[in-house]
Symmetry: C2
Subunit: 323 residues, 2 copies
């Protein structure tokens, strides 16, 4: 069973404006509303993949109530903790024939007390439900502690006696601390090229398949599985010490939002099915791509996933040199 | 007592973004939230003016519940009708040092049945509360009937036996039908220069104090009192057949939103106090200006209103020629 963790969920409002003008009054119809946040999107994708999944999230205020209602309508298996501040809204404005402008609230501040309670909650859930063998920690938390996810990871490693696969999808300082300043490591991270560049203090111009391969080769990371997604250019992966280049077919993207979250869902689901490394990578990429073929976020069709899975090539670039 | 009518209220979210970029992900703090819509803003201004006021509005769905809660927190005297669709949100993004970009939902569609019930409601309220002697009808309604406000005006004139002062603040087709295609007339309208141009099929370049004066002079409108606001250039008014030019002092505008609604509040409040025509005009302008000195919408200080009232000159331009 997969447990997803979303500590900054949101209600997403999607607006269409033909001609969006700054400094003006822009009229629009009522929005499409959909609960979001990385872990919520990932959970939705896992439900489409027919995975055994449970979502943990935090909800507060009137927005939290609205998000809960919408998630219940989706029949999402959910455990939520009540927090004191109001959950956040996010807005996507689709305008001028394909431009996507987002306004994203930072979200409610999670107090020190609340963040400690959240860790206790999660440990209790994992220890109380022995079927949970995979945990995904998705997205950001709005508090002042850049080491919060290191603490959560530490708690999961030290307070759960059985082997857990831990998948973490963070960025910026949180990602850096997980990678460079933590005693314990997750089993999987999925930086995109921008996050990878940040992690290795590279300029974005330096980023290429070659530079990623050489960084992954020369760096002795404790994290066993890393997937660096390169959008339409496929991916580079380092799994169990082996480095792979991933080639993907070109597709017609409808809406890219949630592609990364669907990739995480693909990884978790493939691990749950005991796929081998190459197939985990292919399945993850297929799920990320299948999501981009849909309007919805974290929505995918199993037919598209299977079809794309067959078209993705994973080539071994360099093998781990055993000492 | 003044009854205000708001058939398309909204919850306004006010966001600050330092550098708002189209096509990008723009991060922001939690918004300032404030219920709005023209009649709600007008009611708030009337409360600041210590007027005896009652607000009638329509609310639906989760947004309607949120708006009701916020209005109750303001202690706004409120009668609301439940409608089937969700009330609307509006967004103001303050960005790049003073640019104000608005995203405004059209709002819930009001069905034919609901619009008929609304008219019945209003007639019952006015007939049930004899202290109501002034009614303001503020802003738009989202239904397919451009004659809806004509029907409401007709119902008020035909089904209320006592003399009511009716102030209407609409635009576009609704305003045109009230002015040109209605058997009954309101006592007061307040077009701004753009609305006045629309009403008389003038190009916006043709609009000047002189052209407005000549249009008002040559047109035999059944509406006894018309105030054409010209922003920082003051106003032209036609009251009881006499035409006035209004000169205003220059002020430092903080936030112009709600200025028109505060002007309507000023008119209603001045009529309730039996001011003469010139002083009604001065008070209305003072209230509209006082609102622009505040961050809040429909917020004004009585000191500023009194101070501005003293600085506004209303000069008779042409007197009605009695036959």
């Amino acid at each position: 069973m997969i447990l997803t963790i979303t500590l900054n969920p949101s209600m997403d409002f999607i607006y269409s404006v033909d001609d969006f003008v700054l400094g003006a009054n822009n009229r629009t119809n009522l929005p499409v509303k959909m609960p979001g946040g990385k872990g919520i999107n990932c959970t939705r994708a896992l439900m489409y993949l027919k995975a055994d999944v449970l979502a943990y999230t935090v909800l507060g205020g009137e927005n939290g109530n609205a998000i809960r209602k919408y998630l219940e309508n989706e029949n999402m298996p959910l455990i939520s903790k009540k927090i004191s501040e109001n959950s956040r809204n996010s807005y996507t404005i689709m305008h001028n024939g394909g431009i996507q402008t987002e306004i994203v609230e930072n979200g409610p501040k999670i107090s020190k007390l609340e963040s400690n309670e959240i860790i206790d909650d999660i440990i209790n859930i994992v220890n109380g439900e022995e079927r949970i063998n995979i945990v995904t920690v998705n997205g950001s938390i709005n508090n002042d502690n850049d080491f919060y996810y290191v603490s959560l990871l530490t708690a999961l490693r030290e307070n759960v006696s059985r082997k857990l696969v831990i998948i973490m999808d963070q960025s910026k300082k949180s990602l850096n601390n997980i990678v460079n300043n933590s005693v314990y490591s997750p089993d999987f991270i999925k930086p995109n090229e921008v996050e990878f560049a940040e992690l290795f203090n590279m300029n974005s111009e330096e980023i290429s398949k070659e530079s990623i391969i050489s960084k992954l080769t020369e760096t002795k990371s404790k994290i066993p599985n890393i997937l660096v997604s390169l959008g339409g250019n496929g991916a580079i992966a380092k799994f169990s010490g082996n480095i792979y280049e991933v080639s993907i077919p070109s597709i017609k993207v409808v809406n890219p939002t949630g592609s990364g979250d669907s990739t995480v869902a693909g990884v978790a689901s493939a691990i749950a099915r005991n796929y081998n490394d190459k197939d985990i990578i292919r399945y993850a990429m297929a799920c990320g791509m299948a999501n981009t073929l849909e309007e919805g976020v974290g929505v995918l069709s199993l037919d598209n996933v299977e079809n794309l899975f067959e078209q993705i090539d994973v080539t071994l670039v360099s093998e781990e040199i055993k000492k």
